[in-house]
Symmetry: C2
Subunit: 253 residues, 2 copies
């Protein structure tokens, strides 16, 4: 509930049948969610789509029209199932062409005869793309307008993100404060709703937990406004004390 | 690339700001992806959306029109940020009303005076819903048409899935066979693409790995047709041997 006019938003598109089949557990959503939050970019949506042209093109076009930044992960390797660049090019209505800088990076790397037709695919980007450095395995990611196309392997994706991070302009960072209490949500829900109604600029979330037979909940206050955040947190703290609970505090982003 | 006429498809909608902020790592996508694959339901898409009415309603309506089954996780507790049932009701154009069976389950459970207004929210479902049993914490999930509304807490979501699993009618199970080789993808990509072109009913995926300085890839063949799966796997095995590699095999779903 931060001011929409100031917030900077993002979406992630995870591309890969291996996530949808359950073979591979995604590690990229959590990393990007945390890093984007840290730099004041609000992740608003994630889509996981299959290695299917229509699914990828539609997701890219839907997200790039709505969010400030879009990050795709996966599908930029040398094999036949790596179709992300063809799809992103199609989404933008441009050709997927040889990128001279990407070509040079890979041509310098591979020994004579090793830079084959399959690997040449990794030197192609949609026309107009700017490369994103890959310090791990060289084959670059890239940016086209507000869309960043990154690898699927977590270590490479993370390195690429750090390479492009300086290009992102965040909004005011969303600060958070968490207060936990060993009481079930249902006992404090009505009082909590009343506090939420008082603080329109603070988003209050309640997340139940079950730890060793103890039922409790973590109440998370998030806002770009420090004063409002502190006031809402004070109100939640007092509400817990009034209910006979013991508030446990945790600051964080 | 299994026959579209026979396949049974699904989408997951993960509802929750806590996933998008990075505070909570999602555990539900991986569980549902694996279980659905096991019973012959092909997960085609996942969306993670925020606790926002428009975002939830749009995702539910987009997915229920396209896929055989839709599973939502999160947002069915007693607090003000639990808006899933209101949103699903809106998506279906029905009221979110008191469900007599859900009311009885909770009324029997809570002591005198404990079944308050907030908890009463958990006894509401969209009109026409059928309950999904929650053996962990009682407050039920539900099914409305092809949409299953489940809890966000992983242990509860998993128990609810097992409660509803008998209602799902899967298609032919997708069988898989994995062959790994300690060679970079780029070395076998062209030969692999040729094999993919020979086997239209087998989906071949290539997933690179980097283990202790060794670069390799896992080649995953997936099909509902055992004969085609075996033939494609044999072709991949031979291709690896021809390239001087050592194929390492792994069966699985």
């Amino acid at each position: 509930m931060t001011s929409e006019s100031k917030s900077v938003t993002a979406a992630i598109i995870v591309i890969g049948n291996e996530i949808l089949s359950g073979r591979t557990e995604d590690k990229n959503i959590g990393f990007l969610a945390t890093r984007l939050t840290e730099i004041g970019v609000q992740l608003r949506e994630v889509r996981v789509v299959s290695d299917d042209e229509t699914a990828i093109v539609d997701a890219v076009n839907a997200c790039r029209a709505v969010y400030d930044y879009v990050f795709t992960t996966g599908g930029i390797g040398p094999t036949h199932d790596d179709i992300t660049s063809d799809c992103v090019a199609k989404a933008f209505g441009v050709k997927n062409t040889l990128h001279p800088e990407a070509f040079k990076i890979l041509d310098d790397h591979y020994a004579e005869g090793e830079f084959n037709e399959a690997r040449l695919r990794m030197a192609h980007t949609p026309e107009g793309a700017t490369l994103v450095d890959n310090p791990i395995s060289l084959a670059p990611g890239y940016q086209i307008e507000n869309v960043f196309v990154l690898a699927g392997v977590p270590s490479i994706m993370q390195a690429m993100f750090e390479s492009l991070r300086h290009r992102l302009v965040g909004g005011p960072p969303v600060l958070s404060h968490t207060i936990s209490v060993n009481k079930p949500e249902g006992k404090i829900a009505q009082a909590l709703a009343a506090i939420q109604n008082q603080f329109a600029d603070v988003e209050i979330g309640s997340y139940p937990y079950f730890r060793g037979g103890v039922v409790g909940c973590s109440l998370v206050m998030r806002s770009t406004d420090t004063g409002q955040l502190n006031d809402a947190s004070a109100a939640v703290r007092q509400m817990i004390l009034d209910a006979g609970g013991e508030p446990v505090e945790e600051h964080g982003v």
